[in-house]
């Protein structure tokens, strides 16, 4: 683990954000100052398009639409109703009727005027669509999990680098102040030498069944073939399209482990300043009514993924334990610490919940302009996604696995290695 400056750009963004609550109204640091987004000429606006936007995507988009230097001009979605909803949302914000709609996102990517895209489809599409967007010269904000396999996470990272694009994974907690402060307590040694970090995960589930076949809908209403995209063929059932795809192997990432793990393991990596590595062993533990996976870094630091035993600080909790104390925080914005000394350093409670991408989207647009790497850039994403996938594979196989962070291969476990990648359905190529 290289020792990077604990006080990086992200840290600053949060200090600034925190400062604005310490100093009450009038706000000292307006978003404009943080954002390189003062009054902008129309010609310098970032032109944005959207691919596959429903609930979470709509929430992220609402924050993007608020940015004065961003204009959302097009939505591509396989569902007619979603195309309509998003168009209405954008048109209302833009005060016109000009948001274009596409069934096939390739038409959207072919447009020269679009600088960046928000990708918020289901997991099965994220990496493929992100890579196609990057090759089309667009910067990418992709919801997590950004890649459905170890191989795709790696390939996505390489594609972003090769094409010289800016990439932000939708792991917005990297830009939420209470998570940042907890990470900082670990990074700056205020907890003493860190020995264990904890990442919350969902109940794991790995389904391989096919739901009963139903007649395929009119592609103008729901384009099933396009919905499936790079996932293997299976018979249509409306439930998948309505959200029941979760937990199904072909559509979900790591038996649902990445649903939260992509956030929480990522925050642990951040706290440990381990963005350039990952744990080297992954061991599923037999704990009743939980999915405990114990991972260990090369330097002996333990990372425990678990569902139960959290303090109740909201969803997506993380906990860092050192020889001198611990900190735990979650989406409520509240932070618990082991001592009054640590409490003394806490910033005022954040009014921004962990689910809010407010600062995360701004970080992305700033980087579109400065060409810097956003907080959840492709390198950060690849490492934490791959570690999550490794943990999920260990859980599926029910045995301890050893992983080499350099070659990104399991050591002496052929079967595990062969679970690192899946074929992409033709004709999708990246």
């Amino acid at each position: 683990m290289t020792k990077k400056s604990a006080l990086n750009r992200r840290d600053f963004m949060k200090t600034a954000a925190a400062a604005s609550t310490v100093f009450s109204a009038p706000t000292i640091i307006p978003a404009t100052a943080l954002g390189l987004n003062g009054t902008v000429a129309p010609s310098e606006r970032i032109i944005l398009g959207g691919i596959g936007i429903r609930r979470r995507g709509g929430y992220v988009l609402s924050h993007m639409l608020e940015q004065p230097d961003v204009r959302f001009v097009a939505i591509a979605d396989v569902r007619a109703d979603q195309r309509k909803t998003v168009k209405e949302m954008a048109d209302k914000q833009n005060g016109d009727q000009k948001c274009d709609t596409y069934r096939d996102f390739r038409e959207l990517l072919a447009r020269d005027d679009i600088d960046a895209v928000l990708i918020a489809t289901g997991d099965r599409w994220h990496a493929t669509a992100s890579m196609m967007a990057a090759e089309a010269g667009k910067d990418v904000y992709s919801e997590k999990p950004c890649a459905i396999s170890i191989e795709l996470a790696r390939r996505l990272q390489e594609t972003i680098q090769r094409t010289g694009r800016v990439f932000q994974a939708g792991t917005q907690r990297r830009n939420v102040s209470n998570f940042g402060h907890a990470a900082k307590l670990a990074q700056t040694g205020q907890l003493g030498k860190i020995h264990t970090v904890h990442a919350s995960i969902y109940q794991l589930i790995d389904r391989h069944d096919w739901l009963p076949a139903e007649p395929e809908p009119d592609p103008e209403v729901v384009d099933w073939n396009m919905w499936l995209g790079p996932a293997p063929w299976r018979p249509y059932n409306h439930a998948y399209v309505d959200g029941a795809w979760r937990g199904h192997y072909d559509f979900d990432s790591g038996a649902k482990l990445l649903d939260w793990g992509a956030h929480t393991l990522d925050i642990c990596q951040w706290a440990l300043e381990a963005d350039d590595t990952m744990p080297v062993t992954y061991e599923p533990k037999d704990v009743p009514d939980d999915n405990v996976i114990e991972c260990v870094y090369e330097n002996g630091v333990k990372l425990v993924m678990r569902r139960n035993g959290w303090l109740g600080l909201g969803t997506c909790p993380v906990r860092f334990e050192g020889e001198a104390g611990w900190v735990e925080t979650g989406d409520s914005g509240q932070t618990a610490v082991s001592s009054n000394e640590l409490r003394a350093s806490l910033p005022s409670p954040s009014s921004i919940p962990g689910t809010s991408p407010k600062f995360h989207v701004r970080d992305f647009f700033n980087c579109v302009k400065t060409r810097s790497k956003p907080a959840a850039n492709e390198d950060v994403m690849a490492r934490s996604h791959i570690a999550c996938h490794a943990a999920a594979i260990a859980w599926k196989l029910g045995r301890k696995l050893q992983f080499d962070p350099v070659t990104e291969q399991f050591v002496n476990d052929d079967e595990a290695n062969r679970m690192r990648s899946r074929a992409m359905r033709e004709p999708w190529t990246v």
Partner: protein, 848 residues
Amino acid sequence: MSICRLPVFFLCAASLLLTPVTVSAADKNTPEAARLVKVLNSNADTYDKAMACRRLAAIGDASAATAIAKYLGDEKLATYARSALENIPDQAADKALRDALKTVKGDLLVGVINSIGKRKDKQAVGDLTPLLSDKNTKVAIAAAHALGEIGTPEAAKSLQQALGKGDAKLQQEVGFACLMCAKSLAKVKDNQTALALVNTVQKVDLPENILLAATQQAIVLQGKAGLGLLAEQLKADDLQRFRAGLQAAQKLGKISTSTLIETYPRLPEERKALLVAAMGAIQDPAGLPTAIKATSGDSRELKLQAVFAIGELAPAANDKQQTQALDQLLALVKQKDADLAGAAESVIVKLNSSQPSAEIEKQIDTSIRKLLESETREQQLAGIKLAGGCRLSSATPVLLQLVNHSNPEVKQAAISALGGTTSLDDLPRLIQLALTSGPDSPASQALIAACSRLPLEETAQALAGAMAGATNDQKLILLDQLAAIGGKTALETVVAAARSNDDALQNKATDLLGKWGTIDVAPPLLELAKTLENNKYKIRALRGYIRVARQLNMTPEERLEVCRNTLAIAERNDEKKLVFEVLRRNPTPQSVNYTVSLLKDKALNVPASATIVSWAEQGTPIDDELLTDALERVIASTSNENLKQRATQQHERISAQAKQSEKELGFQSLFDGKTFDGWHGNEEIFRIENGEIIAGSLTEKVERNEFLRSNKEYDDFELKLEFKLLGEKTNAGVQIRTAEIPDHHEVSGYQADLGTGYWGCLYDESRRKKILAGPPAELRDLPVRMNEWNNYRIRCEGPRIRIWINGVQTVDFTEADPLIPLNGIIALQIHGNLVNEVHYRNVRLREL
């Protein structure tokens, strides 16, 4: 729940139930991969073949390649087949894919080419090269990408020759493929070939984004030698090129700082701003002087970015540089431009919190004091804000005076700053200030800030102490504060308010308790739900109580207790519904058993059935057997036709899955349902009826312990059976790893116990004669369905013994005594000296 997920995967991979091709007994010992190949060579349906391919992806070898390759031309199965071939390490997979290049067409051919690329099959370069000019552009593009992936000098040559040919889309993709290839070459340290390739791309007429990507790559590949090319990009008029240059600089890192510094003066203001921001991101303190200089630039945007860059660079700089930066920032905080001053203030706060040297800390403190004493309004305000931001507690007395300042701006700033500076000693004064200012006032905000960082219990006590003399309105403010920090004193105080006689206080307190963040709120909420007189608050307390189980973290047992307690006192359907929501979200063996028990209640049968059906439909980690059993009970009990039909559908699916899973795992029946073959024991006591083994009766006492013993001995195994015990006081059990005592009715060894007071315990029969492990006495009945069939699972692995009743684990015991044998017979018991009857059925076992 067992941690081994493999069976699930495995089961799906060979779920042959719906097809005529079942695995025959003769196949039982055939290796798994060979059986799966048989599936592919049979007339099994699409699903089974898909799952066979999926499993072969993980375990197949060369011998499976031909069978899999047959499906490369099948539109439905091609992806599954390619997943398998992509992952089979043997060259046979490469050959199968190369052969398919000649047989499959169109999109399917694209798929095959992708798989070849993914395998980086060097031998395929010759076959792929002609495809670069295929009439079907999709095929040509796929070939280009595959060659890029393969990334050898030969692949590079083919791609280089194809550059600039074909339609625009193809040209573009070949361009990217070249960059891909260059990356692969650079990875194996062939930078020269890589660079040559990238330079060629730069010279072709391609869309700008590819050319810029190529330029970036060329700069990064060359390292220091690329700085000239970098400088060129940074000087370009075209904004995209300038940005690509900035990105390349950041990829190069610190070695680009000098180039950035040199370029800086020649740039227009708005680009200077971007460049300074990039310097901040590179985090090279050598850029600090430029950033400091930039704060006196012309445009506001540049100044702002310069301040932010200082925030990035100063914390890692030396004291001298930090002092310079600080001076500049202090000059800026006095500015009239609020954004700029604010940015500078926040950077000073950041520097202060970055653990600077004592010298710098002193400088910051002194500067803040000086500002505080200043006569100029702007400077005084800056001092106030900085004192708060830097948490300068020694400034509190000054700030408390300024709270009464005539200028409203100063007054408000001072109040806010107290949130940062107030210490525990000064807290009562801030509390009083907040109480006299009212809710949502700046003082109230400041109090929140102070309370969130001061020692928890002491702060709570200070707040609770202020309750005594406060008006009712002020009490509301205090309650909010207490709820915000939580903890023991806070909870007690808010609960007391909920019990008060004042409606406003009760309203506030019950509302806060309903949102409480920790589970220690559950007991008082239950108590309030039982005892409050006002019905509105009573219901609110009950809803708050069930919310704890829904939203906060509890053990499965605690959660079920909340469900039970809620159903016991809930009068309205609304609250009962919430209970089922909790159950639906938390599918544990315990919650399944509990929900099953609710089926008997007519009023609750429909929601309980719906909960069980939804678990089955959504997929849960619940043991198949337990879920099947629950669905059976839904089918038998519900009068709702829709639920019955859905339950039936799920039951079919899951029970088939369960059966297949057991079969694949190697479970074998130990009891044929008709004879005592394989067993011996007292056949006057043990009898067979309806496929069940029965012992004892409900009319006469069994005189002494009797055991039906297996002829065979087992060491490591997993045993499953069903049991039903009848009688007022019952006792039976399953002996494992047990020894016969010659010519005696007793046996000696472990018993997985059953019966009144002993459910699920591990007892040592005729040996240590005591309970070795088991749940606490008061919890032993919980998983058991009295007078009905129950599932029993016993797993012995080495010294470890685990037991589950209806999916709920009751024992996890590891034998410490090395002299105790870890093998022996299995025996079914009926206990002596009791009037009771035991039924056993469906006894099956797999050896581990």
